[in-house]
């Protein structure tokens, strides 16, 4: 039943963006998110939106699929918009009972909504075109300078990728334990919150025990295969920048410059 779950919502297809080095995409997303806070004019937002549209076009991911990921945060978006709309003080343009909308509030709310939507769409473009494995690799490679500060970069990324590998296995196990408990009369359907939390205990205890047992086994299997940390390790799939990646960095740079210019001139 968990076979259909794709972690990190990766969308499998072939496109320019899919083939880019994950480091470029990670840096790119970062630059994009920052630039959304740099621009502060409608012109700037239009530039950002056009850039995003171009990326969506290049990603080959159906637009419907991307928007579906937005559904979960529509609620959050609405609340933010309402707060900004009704609670910003300034020149009142509409009033009913205790609600009043100000001119400043309206601009602010629109900007906020646009900014948030672009932010979420922008980061989901990255997760849609990059597998979790590629992301951890990119993270390891980009954070490598931190090794000088004794940050265990390799170990962190190894932990992340192992966690990703075991999520589906542990979910399957949860499902199994749950069914076993239901068969013995456990009640997971209760609406009562306290009862619900209590019913989690017989689920979590065996799950934790099993997770530790698995961790123990896995550690031994890794040792048996000569794993001894990041020292002296080679890579089966090393990250190498290609021509496309260099072009992508240039495009990013150009985008960042344009964003700064809009901030200055508009």
């Amino acid at each position: 039943m968990f076979d259909s779950i794709t972690l990190g919502q990766y969308y499998q297809t072939d496109s320019v963006l899919h083939r880019l080095d994950p480091r470029v995409k990670l840096v790119g997303t970062f630059v994009y998110l920052i630039s959304l806070f740099v621009v502060d004019s409608y012109v700037g937002y239009i530039v950002a939106a056009l850039f995003l549209a171009a990326m969506i076009f290049l990603s080959n991911v159906p637009f419907r699929y991307i928007v579906r990921g937005m559904k979960t945060i529509v609620f959050l978006l609405l609340i933010t918009v309402c707060f900004n709309l009704f609670l910003t003080p300034g020149e009142v343009i509409w009033q009913a009972w205790i609600f009043k909308i100000t001119k400043e509030g309206l601009t602010f709310a629109i900007k906020m909504a646009v900014r948030l939507s672009l932010l979420i769409l922008g980061s989901s473009i990255m997760t849609l075109t990059t597998t979790p494995t590629q992301l951890t690799d990119a993270l390891e490679s980009l954070l490598r300078p931190l090794k000088k500060l004794h940050v265990p970069v390799h170990e962190i990324s190894m932990m992340m990728s192992i966690a990703l590998r075991f999520i589906p296995i542990l979910m399957e196990e949860t499902d199994k334990i749950m069914k076993a408990q239901i068969a013995r009369g456990a009640d997971f359907e209760s609406k009562n919150l306290i009862k619900k939390i209590k019913s989690m205990v017989p689920l979590l205890v065996p799950l934790f025990i099993s997770a530790f047992r698995r961790a123990n086994d896995l550690a031994m299997a890794m040792e048996a295969r000569c794993y001894r940390g990041g020292e002296g390790r080679t890579k089966m799939k090393p990250l190498v920048y290609k021509a496309n990646d260099r072009i992508a960095y240039l495009v990013l740079l150009a985008f960042a410059v344009v964003c700064i210019l809009t901030r200055i001139y508009f």
Partner: protein, 309 residues
């Protein structure tokens, strides 16, 4: 290839506070000698010390007393540690808990990555290893989508990619269905025959031991019996004493013999039994067809066995 002398292993038992409360002797004086290219089976019921023995061969455990040499290297010597682990690969019981990566090919590459093999060489080895166990077509898949037998074959490929001289399989089939068991054992036997890799198969399925060059039976931390499968399974009474079964056919032949039929002491396959029952004339007729015999043996493994529970 592997030489064990007077091996003793004690587990330290701890009480609730973590203080050493006593020791439990898992292995009490084992001597073992395996020559290169052999296919060895180690049998024994639960708690007989066979898994502990396996972990000594890969330097995952160290002797309390005695010595273990792997390819002439003493496992107690710290500087040999990684070379020993590379030379004596290990496949564990639970297929899920030994696959590290999220893609089959990356998992096979994990071992070579650890020992610092250059990138192109890793790819070559991954291809070779996956082809050797017949999993090349599944190289891009997530391990979660494979069957148990396939996962174990991936684990074996992961070990082969490190180019070991010896593979220790610690009950690799205990969690598999009959088909998966056959897949895994066939893959191991194939490697033994074509690449000359020494195989040490630890198991409690007697049928898997039939094709071994030599069988060791462990009981309470000691080697209770050793010999060829035929020699071992001829001693039905002794095996029962050690809480072990013999293959069903062997048991049937044994019972028939006890009732007064004139057939040889140790029968390992259905065909042998049929020949023995049909008398010497039939036996000599079918002796020439060794190929048939082999096919029959694998067929024998396929059949579900009621006494394995």
């Amino acid at each position: 290839m592997i030489k064990i002398e007077k091996l003793i292993h004690d587990y330290i038992q701890r009480d609730d506070e973590g203080n050493a409360a006593g020791t439990f002797r898992a292995i009490g004086g084992v001597d073992l000698d395996v020559s290169p290219g052999q296919f060895i089976a180690v049998l024994g019921h639960n708690g007989s010390g066979k898994s502990t023995l396996a972990k000594h061969l890969n330097a995952l455990l160290f002797p309390t007393e005695g010595t273990v040499w792997v390819d002439g290297m003493d496992t107690k010597d710290e500087k040999n540690l990684w070379e020993i682990r590379r030379e004596a690969g290990m496949v564990f019981q639970n297929p899920d808990n030994q696959i590290i990566a999220q893609v089959v090919e990356e998992d096979v590459g994990f071992g070579p990555e650890n020992i610092g093999v250059p990138t192109e060489e890793i790819w070559k080895r991954v291809e070779e290893s996956l082809k050797a166990v017949g999993m090349w077509v599944h190289r891009k898949k997530s391990p979660n989508r494979l069957s148990g037998g396939q996962k174990q074959r991936v684990s074996i490929a992961g070990v082969i990619a490190m180019q070991p001289k010896c593979i220790v399989l610690d009950e690799p089939t205990a969690m598999l269905d009959p088909n998966g068991r056959k897949e895994v054992i066939n893959a191991a036997m194939q490697l033994n025959r074509t690449k000359g890799i020494t195989i040490i198969l630890i198991t409690h399925y007697m049928e898997e031991a039939i094709n071994a060059d030599q069988v060791f039976v462990m009981d309470r931390g000691k080697i209770a019996m050793q010999g060829t499968p035929r020699e071992i399974f001829a001693q039905v009474e002794r095996m029962k004493e050690l809480q072990l079964d013999v293959p069903q056919v062997t048991l049937l032949a044994y019972e028939l013999r006890k009732k007064g039929l004139n057939i040889p002491v140790s029968i390992l396959t259905k065909e042998e039994l049929a020949d023995a029952l049909m008398g010497p004339a039939a036996a000599s007729e079918s002796e020439g067809s060794a190929e048939d015999d082999k096919a029959a043996q694998s067929e024998e493994k396929e059949a579900p066995h009621g006494n394995q529970g």
